[in-house]
Point group: C2
Chain length 405, copies 2
């Protein structure tokens, strides 16, 4: 056996460098003190590593806005914006939303467009591809440096990842696998596809109402009703990929059967179509205006809020998330929906939960799905798990370089 010393040392250096890069990927721009705090590395070690990363152009020094009284700007650190672009894409029910960002988390371009006449999955994917290329063109972004794509799509199911070459058997693919495969082949980068609501939870924990929170329940009340759960900073998918399917939590066991196979599901009460159906309106804007009056609309929205509060009480009893972020058209109605929701939650939740839960409204809407895709590409998926670091010359040919990983 050869002496493992040089390889081992290189790996330790690389592992420390990855820790620093991981902090910057996760949090965007940070001061040196913040990098030290998040990485847990000593000042001496950190100084060596940062010197090396800056020299090699992987990390750049920036100027943070003044945070002290004297108003002097402080030095910040960020991943080199030139080190790669990331694309977050939402293939929503009616619209495509896209966000192009650099590795420093700076959004360079965003766009949204309706599907128009594009109906089938293939047409819609082609439209999305064209929209990305056009947005990049308009903003002078070279897509040759694109490093990863994260996509939020509708409906339940598991995370799908495709390598840059696409999936092994591209024929007959459907749903998320089709999306991942086609986009990977079109842009020649790895692609991750997950539920758009679940990804919004990730966006809210990264940029939104609960930025930096490590435990978060996101609840979305829109055309569908859904949720996303973050525990310990990680998106929880569950054994079958359907964790936090809030819309299919039973809130009335004498209620109607649901397409999901359950009964009295929250989505039958606290979603845009359910509220429209119950009030006899066809357009959301009309219903919204009617809420100011004394009609049946207030009662329907109040019932929706009560059921939502009951479902959230059950969810919070299950996982004791300290932050609950509410999004979607119903949440945007404000107090007519939110007051009964909070009251119903308080009536059902144990005292120690009630005091410990902070409610907020979504801060990333309507870009949550696209920003969540971006967050997936930037720091949740294995896409970026190995930031490229050049081998030190003396270890380039070490035979045991993979051990210990």
């Amino acid at each position: 056996m050869t002496d493992p010393a040089p390889t081992a040392l290189h790996r330790l250096r690389q592992s420390n460098a990855e820790r620093v890069l991981g902090c910057l990927r996760r949090h965007g721009e940070l001061s040196r003190a913040e990098v030290a705090e998040h990485s847990g590395l000593s000042r001496t070690t950190l100084s060596t590593i940062l010197g090396d990363l800056i020299r090699r152009g992987v990390v750049v020094e920036t100027e943070l806005p003044p945070s002290n009284r004297r108003g002097r700007p402080t030095g910040g650190l960020a991943l080199n914006p030139g080190a790669g672009q990331y694309l977050g894409l939402e293939l929503g029910r009616n619209r495509i939303r896209l966000v192009l960002a650099d590795a420093a988390h700076r959004v360079q371009a965003r766009d949204d467009l309706s599907y128009g006449s594009a109906r089938g999955a293939a047409d819609r994917l082609a439209l999305a591809e064209r929209a990305v290329r056009e947005a990049a063109d308009r903003h002078g972004i070279t897509l040759g440096t694109l490093a990863g794509i994260g996509v939020g799509s509708t409906g339940p199911g598991e995370l799908v990842l495709a390598p840059a070459a696409g999936l092994a058997e591209p024929d007959g693919l459907r749903g998320r696998e089709l999306i991942a495969d086609r986009l990977a082949r079109a842009f020649e980068v790895p692609v991750g596809v997950d539920n758009n609501t679940r990804l919004t939870a990730l966006a809210e924990a990264t940029w939104g109402a609960a930025a930096g929170a490590s435990d978060l329940l996101y609840a979305h009340f829109s055309h569908g009703t859904g949720g996303g759960l973050i525990i310990g900073g990680q998106l929880i998918r569950g054994t079958g990929g359907v964790a936090a399917e809030l819309g299919h939590l039973c809130v009335d066991d004498t209620g109607p059967e649901c397409w999901c196979g359950g009964r009295g599901c929250l989505e039958r009460y606290a979603s845009v179509p359910a509220v429209l159906r119950a009030t006899g309106h066809r357009r959301w804007a009309v219903l919204r205006d009617a809420l100011a009056g004394d009609g049946a609309e207030s009662e329907v929205v109040r019932t929706a809020g009560e059921h939502a509060g009951a479902a959230l009480a059950a969810m919070c009893t299950a996982v004791n998330a300290g932050r609950v972020v509410l999004g979607g058209e119903l949440a945007e109605l404000g107090e007519p929906f939110l007051r009964p929701l909070r009251e119903s939650f308080a009536r059902r939740a144990m005292r120690s939960l009630r005091g410990g839960v902070e409610f907020g409204t979504a801060g990333t809407a309507p870009w949550g799905g696209a920003l969540g895709g971006l967050a997936l590409a930037l720091h949740e998926s294995p896409l970026l798990a190995r930031y490229p670091l050049p081998q030190h010359p003396e270890q380039a040919a070490a035979p045991d370089a993979e051990s210990g990983r």
Copy 2:
């Protein structure tokens, strides 16, 4: 700055060794192939590390039962049983249960006793201490090699850890802090105290009905109703330490107020006292016998099962756990409770959940709380996070030894 090379190399070796020891702590006895699989280390690296650990007496070679057709025994590996004892203790409602095990997960002694006339916390702790010392004596175990204690106690609340010296301000402590402090001082080892039901989830995932499962919901129907949740191999405690408080999930919002501040909590229906109250019986054995007849007992137990199924459907919708383990006296009633539970679960849960959830009954009862305490001491707490490894002589005085951790 001094050359960090020797320290760095030592740390890498130590980190690989810790990875191997972590696998053995978590899984008990393993074959070399299993250690390689769980640790992800290369054959060459593993062979060097194991040679060193065996030479130093930290790991021992064992003989695994034959697993192949030829019936030849295969070599196994385990932590050296002589490397330390661990104590799992349950301070239950009526009884103390204790389990003494070696670092190889082998239980050497167990005991259970009632509190008798011991009423206050101090008396009960003194009784528990005496019981541990007597059990050790009876089995010839030297408590001088005791390395850690995990305790399951009743009631909600957060994990409390005390270092071997006890807590900093020992006066006026109550509940878990009192337990942790007094036991740490009595045995001069670190102590972790958590909810006994939550710890049973850990026991079930380590030794019980779901051994090796990484996602598990444990539901306990006894004097109280509670639960424990494991996601990705980790016990989930939640922001306020009350995750998986199944007993306080609201199953009937027109139901009675609960001491917890909620309303219509599951514990009001699916617990031993609730069932006794509703049937007018005073003794569980009598109720159990009456279940064979056509009396009101069957109806009460059926309702309890239905409510339990509803609560579990909500919990599984929240986290999509693939395994549900049921324990406690109600679960032990069998089909009169379990059939309505499963049917109620199936009626409410979305189809994709229904097919994906495997129900089982507890395999560690009545030792779940004590074994869970043991699991906490063995592999969940920081007690064992740094298995002592001697410094290599050339690095003993390296100045930067703490950087990078």
